[in-house]
Amino acid sequence: MFPVLIAVVVWLAAWWLNVRIAGSAWRDSRAGRLAVPVIFGITVLVVWECLVLGLRVSPVILPAPTAIAARFAVSTEVLWGDFVQTALKGAVSGYVIGCGAAFLVSLAIDRSPFLQRGLLPIGNFVAALPIVGTAPILVNWFGFDWQSKAAVVVVMVFFPMLVNTVQGFADTTAMQRDLMRTYSANYWQTLLKLRLPAAMPFIFNGLKISTTLALIGAIVAEYFGSPTRGMGFRISTEVGVLGLDMVWAEITVAAIAGSSFYGAVALMERGATFWHPSQRS
């Protein structure tokens, strides 16, 4: 029972520390904003470790963080191979194709009010559908390798991206458009100088939503058939043989991949929409 006691003590101490930081002068500083969640995260890990030790949880149910870390360190090569297969080949290529296609289609839609009125409600509807269900069909069509994963990702990211982009293009006021007209700007000039910049926050919103969807799509598609590597493949086979430490190692990879993918897009957004109120702190 001793480790459980340690867990309780660590939890209380860390919470006290966080309350002190949040109440202190540097709660608004960068260090303070970073320290609080980091302390919280470390506490969760320590408590997890202690509880697994203290309550003698079977590794089949929940492996300890140290066991997961050890497994991670041993099998970096396998994990890297899976990452390349799923995240880089499947998710990123599908993401680029899907978002690119959605952007082009939304440009076309934007020129036709009729299409806007017809496609947008449908796009909105489709964006709320469980599109992951099409994964087996697409795997059937495009084969087991990364092409089918990319296809699932394309279908998944297309509609959220489309809806956001079209919405962004509509986000200029009549006054602003009139101003462009008094400058006698043509369609392309108006697009490049006014409407595209105005649409940027919406476009990046769509891009950010799509990052998560892309990874989900690539992993689910692997459950329906894949070559003998890939994150989804590894997870489903390791769950089958109860190698939960490997599963957690894959989840760690997925979390790192997902967060850095999202973070990269968010960084790009910072650069591209530095003028938007949401980017000023």
Partner: protein, 340 residues
């Protein structure tokens, strides 16, 4: 819908209080927008007269075009099999024969719409609801898990939002992790949740599915509610202070009612996300009941018509769920005097 980019729908729901191009409440954690599982877009622009026909006509046209594309696609994709058969037997086929064959294949690569409709009719109307072949039965399984997960996720989301609004420590500690939790692909965790719960003695798949859908659904509610609970401005809070209202009264009489528009907007996203979560929970886990399981079985038995029918059914379910929440929103808004 509520990331920091204000969109038309939010602006409308707040009675146009938000000025154009300005965040209603710029989310301050890390100064960035948040990911959302599902995007949701603007209301369709109203026609000049705003009557139903002028709004429906473009939608119907696009739908008709989609069906036409679907038929063309199924002819194109199914023709491969037909041509291979013909070549083997040394026949020459005319175009009309290829088209006719594409419409009636047993295992088409892309079943044409009428085959899917026939399958839907067979499994929805002609089969008894209690039968395991009835799609209504499978929809019910999926629906019940979705609702359980949705309720759980919404409760967790609301509680976390209240905690975040009232405790700075919680906000600083939790919010970054909540965002990171959404960048982890849930499907990576789905098989594990099921195995772990099974080894802990939880029978059946209802609980793991509900947990997965709650995981997807809590985040929109958390974000929307933490924004909504903070939406009363200083003036309103000051007024309550001059009334001598205590914390609980401020919460129930001001913060909670004014969070309602945000609440329902996030519920709409949350319920769609919960359905996605349930179906994802059914897909990779060898479930035998539920719409996701129908998709899985259809895949294993090489029966695309079955997959498509289950997909259409899932779409109808999503529409019904979102529609119900939207209806609730309208009723509540009218009762509370929010509607214009």
């Amino acid at each position: 819908m509520f990331p920091c980019v204000p969109n038309r729908a939010t602006r409308l729901e707040q009675g146009g209080k938000v000025r154009r191009g300005q965040c209603p409440d710029p989310p301050r954690f890390a100064g960035r927008c948040m990911p959302l599982p599902v995007a949701s877009g603007p209301k369709p622009p109203k026609g000049m007269d705003g009557d139903a026909l002028s709004r429906l006509f473009p939608i119907l046209t696009v739908l008709a075009a989609l069906v036409a594309v679907w038929y063309a696609g199924s002819v194109w994709m199914n023709s491969g099999w037909t041509l291979a058969q013909a070549e083997r037997s040394g026949q020459e086929l005319s175009l009309s024969e290829i088209v006719a064959d594409a419409m009636v294949q047993e295992r088409p690569r892309l079943p044409p719409p009428h085959q899917v409709l026939a399958e839907l009719k067979k499994t929805v109307i002609d089969t008894k609801v209690t039968s395991k072949r009835s799609l209504v039965f499978h929809s019910w399984i999926t629906l019940s898990s979705t609702l359980a997960g949705f309720t759980l996720g919404t409760l967790v989301g609301i509680l976390a939002a209240v905690g975040i609004v009232y405790s700075r420590t919680l906000k600083m500690a939790l919010m970054p992790w909540a965002i990171i939790s959404q960048t982890i692909p849930i499907v990576a965790i789905a098989p594990m949740i099921i195995v772990v719960l099974a080894s802990m003695g939880v029978e059946g798949r209802a609980v793991p599915k509900a947990i997965i859908s709650a995981y997807l659904c809590y985040f929109p509610v958390l974000v929307g509610m933490s924004k909504g609970l903070r939406s009363p401005d200083g003036m309103q809070l000051d007024l309550l202070k001059t009334y001598g209202a205590n914390g609980r009264q401020t919460f129930w009489k001001l913060r909670f009612p004014s969070s309602m528009p945000y609440f329902f907007t996030s519920l709409k996203i949350g319920v769609a996300a919960a359905l996605v979560g349930t179906i994802v929970g059914e897909l990779p886990t060898g479930a035998i009941r539920g719409l996701g399981a129908r998709i899985l079985i259809g895949d294993q038995f090489g029966n695309p018509i079955m997959i498509w029918a289950a997909l259409i059914m899932a779409a109808c379910l999503a529409a019904a769920l979102v529609g119900t929440v939207a209806g609730l929103q309208r009723v509540t808004a009218r009762r509370m005097g929010f509607s214009r």
